[in-house]
Amino acid sequence: MILARADQASRRYGDVLALDRVDLDVRAGELVGLLGPNGAGKSTLMNLLVGLRRPSSGRVELFGGDPRDPASRRQIGVTPQETGLPGTLRVGEVVDFVSAHYPDPVPRAELLNRFGLGDLARRQTGGLSGGQRRRLAVALAFVGRPRLVLLDEPTTGLDVAARHTLWDAIRAFHDDGGTVLLSSHYLEEVETLARRVVVIGQGRVLADDTVDAVRGIVGVRRVSLVADELPELPGVVRTERIDGRLHLLTSDADQLVRALVTTGTAFADLEVRPTSLEEAFLAITGADGPATSGEPMGEDPTTREQPTTAAAGGQPTPA
């Protein structure tokens, strides 16, 4: 059964095309990760699915109905941005307020305990730490015993411990049969939680596959060096020259360097770096098109344009 669907959904803000004919089906029981750099269109897609915005063209559906119809939203849970919690209300009051909208809400104490907020029911939300506010914001998505929760970057800016608390809660919900659509710009987060990954870049769905398949095309490296002219090299996805340095994006840096040395070309100042997820996306999906040479990087030709990397800068690895 399909709980949420986008069918050729496009969304335009003035001159900017934020979503470009996106197709997405979220079936009951799935935990789908929506992965993409900032500005890729993840939040826009989420806003369409929860009924905050209308698609400029195409359709979006929740439980077979229009998300803008309140009845269609009865079985979903959404997270507010944590900065948006009313600062003068107490934690318990915010939960009660949201509960009032559902026929059979989770009891307040049970919900707060599940998210490690049990002691804070009487605290005003304005006095919570950033991590506590974020946990409360995510907890609100589960108040109404939803069948589908849509979490827009639920752990951005959290420390490791708080992130794991949230991951556990999301996983527990999924283990009980709940369906999750989760956006993130951390590949690692999506890898940890999701079985299926939808990669979005520049408003388009670039890949919709299993985590394993996406992980298989991970590992784009940036090889940079100073050289005048380079011969044809294997595995180069994109070449660019910035300030006299040549930057080669490749899926196999080792092979590239071996080939480079074998050709006997003169070069200096060789550097091999991991690319960030964002860098990889921007490079491969750049509007000017990839300056591709050599062979396709994946075994499956359809995944050729969807590289991504676990080396998205700086996030902690799971324990």
């Binding site: 915005r53 309140p70 507010p80 941005q81 948006g84 009313p86 209300l89 949201v98 909208h101």
Partner: protein, 245 residues
């Protein structure tokens, strides 16, 4: 309906947790009572009663213009507002809750004026007339609620505060709220029937004592209600369209 009460309750909670906000809307009319009404009309029962009714009108106007004008504009800045739209309820309960909360706060802000009128002046009112004024307050809240909503939905919060402040004093003076009925300076008597404050004040005067309303002021009040409702509706839809379409 039950949801509307829930929304009203939480909006009141949010406001009451910052008591100075409540204090603000009650302060001006109460201060005006003490500085203008008590020394000048305090002795004369009829004059004091009409003057108190004028101050009640003043209070209704400022309470509504400020809480809707500034309150709505500030809410629009908060991400909480879009979040509530993802809950399984339409915008109606939140809107109805806001109006209920607004009315409750309006009555609250009237208490100082009425207390000062009853204790420090000779103003007197029969129980029946008191009930009548309670109802009249709800009626005259309509144009000022609409004015506040028009301001709140069309302007960012910083601009809304300024506009609310700029608007409310001329409306109070121009409508003749700071003078006894029919005794405002000449040019004010000329313009006041064309301002919504005058029609509202006339209704209040008629409710508290022996006063026959001026038809022109009432007709103009009706025109204002239609005008302000159109403006508020337009601003609301424009805002919805800009942020949620």
């Amino acid at each position: 309906m039950q949801l509307a009460l829930v929304h009203a309750r939480y909006q009141l909670l949010e406001i009451v947790r910052i008591p100075v906000a409540v204090f603000g809307s009650a302060f001006f009319p109460a201060a005006a009572m003490i500085f203008f009404v008590v020394p000048f009309a305090g002795e004369d029962a009829t004059g004091a009663t009409f003057a108190t009714a004028s101050m009640v009108t003043f209070s209704v106007m400022s309470a509504n213009i400020f809480q809707y004008g500034v309150g709505v504009a500030e809410d629009r800045d908060q991400p909480w507002n879009p979040y509530t739209r993802t809950l399984p309820a339409g915008p109606a309960p939140r809107f109805a809750g806001r109006v209920l909360a607004g009315l409750a706060l309006t009555y609250l802000s009237l208490i100082p004026v009425v207390v000062i009128g009853a204790t420090l002046t000779a103003a007197r009112i029969t129980p029946v007339a008191l009930l009548l004024t309670v109802g009249t307050v709800a009626v005259i809240s309509v144009p000022f609620t609409l004015m506040g909503l028009a301001i709140g939905y069309s302007l960012p919060s910083k601009a809304a505060i300024v506009v609310a402040q700029v608007v409310f004093l001329p409306l109070a003076f121009g409508g003749g709220l700071l003078s006894a009925p029919g005794e405002a300076p000449g040019f004010i008597e000329t313009i006041s029937p064309f301002l919504p404050t005058r029609g509202a004040a006339e209704l209040m005067w008629a409710a508290v004592g022996d006063y026959s309303v001026e038809p022109l002021a009432l007709i103009m009040l009706g025109v204002w209600v239609v005008l302000l409702a159109t403006l508020a509706g337009w601003a609301y839809r424009r805002d919805e369209g800009r942020r949620f379409s």
